[in-house]
């Protein structure tokens, strides 16, 4: 029973981390109609930025925010100066992000070497809380809290602001959104930057748990992909539900079938593709 609870807490905190990663992926996919194959690279690069700042003795949350801001700027530049050149050619855009992901992975290997970096858990959140004889690591609970705060902030942004309404309009029907005067191309840059920043933030927040190493990008990208196929593109709720499903599957799979854990992750995706191709919360794109 206690093992179950511990696994459940780990699953929820991993799910929270996945939500931070895949919310941006989902918005980018929904709006720009391309899976951003460098999303794992944003996560990895953000995490490396974070551990570098932390090595300078910076406050943990400041490092996470700075890394997110830097990545958001890089994301905006990539969208504005590389992806924009290929506007309308979705396949070329996807392949461009794929090519860039190799460049980023190799540059990271060159700069931060192949050794894993694992920053210390922030002092305030070290240790565990004891609840009725069970120990829960505080930091994992903090990750959940951060994910919840960001989920609420994103929901407020998308559902209750003018900007959010514009993004929703762009997701639903970009040409019509253009006709009514929404500058969709500016939204592209904004959403791409937002997604990159969120992924970097997730990378830093996750680094004390996951540690940062080459190949982390290629590990996180397919997971984000599954979450979005599962939840439906462009849907925050879908990303949230998908993240927690995958969080649970990953942790319980890892504990029970370590050999097949990675495959188990993909099974719900296969089922969804067969039964409901648009995803659990996705809309049918005409």
């Amino acid at each position: 029973m206690s093992q179950w609870l511990t696994l459940a807490v780990n699953s929820i905190s991993y799910g929270g981390l996945l939500f931070l990663l895949s919310a941006g992926f989902s918005l980018i996919f929904g709006l720009m109609r391309i899976p951003n194959l460098m999303h794992g690279s944003f996560f990895l690069l953000g995490a490396y930025f974070g551990v570098t700042f932390l090595a300078q003795g910076m406050n943990f949350w400041l490092a996470a925010l700075l890394s997110a801001a830097a990545m958001a700027a890089i994301g905006a530049l990539i969208e504005r100066f590389l992806l924009r050149r290929l506007a309308g050619q979705e396949l070329a855009q996807v392949l461009l992000t794929l090519g860039l992901s190799f460049v980023v992975a190799d540059a990271c290997l060159m700069i931060w070497t192949g050794d894993p970096w694992q920053p210390e858990t922030p002092h305030a959140f070290q240790g565990a809380v004891q609840v009725s004889g069970l120990f829960f690591p505080i930091y994992r609970l903090v990750i959940v809290a951060v994910a919840v705060v960001i989920a609420i902030a994103l929901w407020l942004l998308i559902d209750w602001t003018r900007l959010g309404a514009m993004i929703r309009a762009g997701v639903d029907d970009a040409p019509i959104a253009r006709v009514v005067g929404i500058k969709v191309s500016q939204l592209f840059t904004l959403v791409f930057a937002l997604g990159a920043g969120l992924a970097a933030f997730a990378g830093v927040v996750g680094s004390p748990v996951l540690s940062v190493y080459p190949g982390l990008d290629a590990e996180m990208l397919p997971v984000a992909l599954i979450v979005v196929i599962l939840g439906g593109s462009g849907s925050l709720l879908g990303a949230l539900v998908g993240s927690f499903i995958i969080g649970f599957l990953y942790n319980f799979g890892q504990a029970w079938f370590p050999d097949l854990a990675y495959v188990i992750l993909f099974l719900p995706m296969v089922v969804v593709l067969v039964v409901r191709p648009q995803g659990l919360f996705g809309k049918v794109v005409p």
């Binding site: 050149r85 190799f102 290629a218 990675y262 495959v263």
Partner: protein, 330 residues
């Protein structure tokens, strides 16, 4: 008429050059690189069936390639014969292709790309994590190369010739495929799927069969690969390998017969040259990808053909215009 003879002359010369290659490059290292080019050309040609003629961009072909390789390598390791292991590998890759196709053909375009990517990652995950079966990161050793018709393929030169034969068969199969009514209907589903549907073609079935055809030749390339390397590891199934194969198709020029072959040669040579000097092959791969997609999306072969045709027309037109001018001035 003239172009057909030009083309047949070029083909004869190319085949003769390839057939006599070990005679004029004595160095085993270069013969081995030639074998690598030919075997990856088979993979690129197979992928081109979907990417070029079907308009279906797959990022999961490294998974199929690895399934054939792992099946044969594991059966050989268990003590089975070459013929049995290879046939079993082909059967396995056909079954895997059918499963891939059924799932991935729920979508086209970007959706197809995402699903094949995820499926390829599943194969990678199995190869990497299911250590009880695949030995994980340690990979599987293949003890020896087979003997075909009394000739041992253990040496570099006999292996080169065996690869060449398979390669030529693959090229011939592709040429027939492209010209066949089926090839035409596949191109039809790429350009006008709705019209093809309205004309009574079963678009899904055409794509499915094309996927199997592509999967078959991918498996053949996978078998050549394990016999060439005598080793297979999860790296073969990684996304990067799928991306390399796609780069071969795109850089040479998709939907052409020659493009993927040229692309395979470029990528294999680049990889060997770049790896010899720096450890940064991945970065080079990424940069080439970005450059080709941004500046020469049609690929090198169609790009060069376009330039060549323009130059040829200029050469032919010039004498004609000067002759016309001379007629006016008696």
């Amino acid at each position: 008429m003239r172009r057909i003879t030009l083309r047949s002359v070029a083909i004869t010369v190319a085949v003769l050059l390839l057939a006599t290659l070990p005679l004029w490059i004595a160095n085993t290292y270069y013969v081995n690189i030639a074998s690598q080019i030919l075997l990856f050309a088979v993979l690129a040609l197979a992928l081109n069936v979907l990417v070029g003629y079907g308009g279906l961009v797959s990022l999961g072909h490294a998974g199929l390639f690895a399934i054939a390789g792992y099946t044969a390598a594991l059966l050989l390791e268990a003590g089975h014969g070459h013929l049995f292991s290879d046939l079993a590998a082909i059967v396995a890759v056909l079954i895997a292709s059918a499963v891939f196709a059924v799932l991935a053909l729920r979508a086209t375009g970007i959706g197809f790309l995402m699903i094949t990517l995820a499926l390829g990652q599943i194969v990678w995950g199995l190869a990497y994590r299911w250590a009880g079966l695949t030995h994980g990161d340690n990979g599987v050793n293949v003890s020896g190369r087979p003997t075909v018709l009394g000739v041992s393929l253990a040496g570099a030169i006999p292996f080169y010739f065996a690869t060449l034969v398979v390669f030529l068969v693959a090229v011939a199969a592709m040429a027939l495929f492209v010209r066949s009514p089926f090839g035409a209907s596949l191109r039809g589903t790429r350009d006008q799927p709705r019209r093809m549907n309205a004309l009574g073609y079963n678009v899904w079935l055409i794509r499915f069969v094309a996927f199997l055809f592509s999967g078959f030749w991918t498996g053949v390339a996978g078998l050549l690969f394990i016999y060439y390397n005598q080793f297979i590891s999860p790296q073969v199934a990684a996304l990067q390998s799928s991306a390399e194969a796609l780069l071969m198709v795109i850089s040479g020029g998709s939907a052409t017969l020659l493009g993927p072959i040229v692309g395979a040669a470029i990528v294999v040579i680049m990889k060997n040259v770049v790896s010899a000097y720096v450890e940064r092959w991945n970065m080079a791969l990424g940069i080439i990808f970005v450059l080709i997609i941004t500046f020469m999306p049609e690929g090198l072969v169609p790009g060069s053909v376009r330039l060549w045709k323009a130059a040829w027309q200029r050469i032919r037109r010039r004498p004609a215009t000067t002759a016309a001018l001379e007629e006016q001035r008696p």
